[in-house]
Amino acid sequence: MFCWGAKAKSLNAVGFPNARDWNPTEEDWKLPENWQEIFLEGMRERLSKYRSFRLFMDICVRCGACADKCHFFIGTGDPKNMPVLRAELLRSVYRRYFTKAGKMFGKLAGARDLDLKVLKELWYYAFQCTECRRCSVFCPYGIDTAEITIIVRELLNLLGLNIQWTMGPVADCYMKGNHLGIEPHTMVNIFETMCDDIETLTGIKITPSFNRKGAEILFVTPSGDFFADPGTYTCMGYLMLFHELGLDYTWSTYAAEGGNFGFFTSNEMAKRLNSKIYAEAKRLGVKWILGGECGHMWRVMNQYMDTWNGPADFLEVPKSPVTGTVFENARSTRMTHIIEFTADLIRHGKLKLDPRRNDHLKVTFHDSCNTSRAMGIFEEPRYVIKSVCNHFYEMPDGTTREQTFCCGSGSGFNAGENMELRLRGGLPRANAVKYVRDKYDVNMLANICAIDRAALTTSMNYWNPGMGVTGVHELVANALIMTGEKKRETNMRGDPLDMPVEEPEAEAGAAAPADKAAGGKANV
């Protein structure tokens, strides 16, 4: 059970080494002759570059606290998916070539030669780790097996051994600006279609701007939000919210991808893709960047961006033009998460909301690995959901917040060919969802990550058929009372609203909409 190997043309597009077409089912992986040397040299380089890596290789005491915490171990039952044993695959090679005991005593010291079998095993299990970091929460030494997987993938990458599901989007993002290689005119067409849908729903015509110089804010979201249902409803939610606020913002067809699959290949590639967003912010002369609902995009921003490309001091510290709140936490990256932005709007009473429009939904919330464990965003999405929905239920302790279970498909292997593997990894999450479904009739699983929206839809279709999946801003859009809107007959998905028919104004719960910001939006 694995994904197809990366193709030469995708590797070549970004100048990755040892590009070739190869097939994991074949005996011969067409490796370069000196592959061991390349691998070990790469390891040596990283051991001296990343102190954490050397530490993680050295300090594990095999206490086993992490062993049963990985969703892939829980779902597959394969002991090599215990984080401690996953790391051991590389640690044994480390011992053999980089420690005295391993060099002298070999197997006795838990060391292994780096042969073809070991290499294939490393590859196989590096792509059964979604780099979710759940195990690290339980390790008394703070060993982060995700970081080890990241290094293993980097080393494999030196040998051209990536997977196409990751490399295709990397190449497309690098060449065209987004994961599917959508060209600018197509992207604009897709937005026009979404705006038509919004007009049908609300009677309001929205004309967003693209690549507009001088806008105050650049908005960047994962492209999954505009090419994949149900992400598209969330994307329409952003469009409606920004229109209602009169926000002076622009989309970009160049920085059209918040997701960063480069992060699943190497730090260097992640840095290159991340820099596009900042190059575009500079070119357009915006003041700051607002980012959509995404998972790993935020891990990259919060944990790595500053080291790679920061500080972004040509931008201003993000400040909400509606409430005046300054997002101090984004002082260095100058990029703010939309859930913080929206929570702040609601806190200041800047949105008119009618939560009854979500009364057909009983909602639970899935904490995405990245926004929770890499950022600590726990309260904002819950606050927003509770402000726009009347029925919210938490999943059980041990499955939420920093202990949340991965969707099972993160870190770039949301492919079709490894579907069973994804469903195995998705079981612990789905099992907790089933619990709230059975107990409270929950019928909607909210989240703030584009990969979740795609992956959980599939996982729920298998494990909990009938369970919907939604982004939080779709729920916001359902509840949002827009100035001059016609009476809503349906929710964002076109389903009839299950609520008493009244004029929305009479029920308006909050303050008047904010003043419209300066106009002058240019369409491409």
């Binding site: 994991p24 497309d172 599917l180 290689g181 897709i190």
Partner: protein, 195 residues
């Protein structure tokens, strides 16, 4: 004592034997975890299997009443829960479903432990075996439904994930073969393990 009363009395022990047999299909470290970690959220597989086999066992016992037919409806949910898990794990069809037949062995071992005293019960075993066989047939249906579902998911996902682009048909210009669901492979099944 009739078979039903006997099995009711020995319920815990039979279920232990049966569980042991189901778990023998997993590596020992895993089996230990599945058996001993009691939290249903930390150990969903263990919970689903234990609850499932108990539910099925009770359903079968109810079916041993003089005129009763085993209530397939009650057992179907438990059966489905277990098979859904086994259908996506690394098992062939026969391995995934073999656990149903191992109940026969668990019951026989328990009856056998009575020695000669258990002879009367042996006569009743045929009826239980018949119910287990019917259950196994139902399990094949569930299993194939699960597998079909997986293929549907594979097909639908590609379509759903590119919905807006399909709306704009012929305008896409990408270099990513992943969107067709297949990258560098040559058509072999990716389900084979490498080695």
């Amino acid at each position: 004592m009739d078979l039903k009363s006997f099995l009711l009395e020995k319920r815990t022990s039979v279920l232990e034997r049966w569980l042991g047999d189901v778990l023998s299909s997993y590596p020992s470290q895993t089996a230990e975890f599945i058996r001993n970690r009691k939290n249903q959220f930390a150990n969903p597989v263990g919970n689903i299997i234990s609850e499932g086999i108990s539910g099925i066992f009770d359903g079968l016992l109810a079916g041993l009443e003089a005129d009763a037919q085993p209530d397939a409806g009650v057992m179907a949910d438990f059966l489905e829960d277990i098979i859904k898990v086994r259908a996506i794990q690394d098992f062939s069809a026969s391995q995934a479903l073999g656990f149903i037949f191992s109940l026969k062995k668990a019951v026989r071992d328990e009856v056998g432990a009575l020695g000669e005293g258990g002879e009367g019960l042996h006569k009743e075993l045929g009826r239980l075996d018949g119910s287990i066989d019917r259950l196994a047939l139902a399990a094949f249906d569930v299993y194939s439904q699960c597998r079909e579902r997986i293929y549907e998911l594979k097909a639908n996902e590609v379509r759903n994930q590119t919905y807006r682009i399909l709306q704009q048909a012929n305008l896409i210009c990408g270099t990513n073969p992943a969107e067709t669901g297949k990258g560098g492979g040559n058509g072999d099944s990716p389900e084979k393990k490498i080695g």
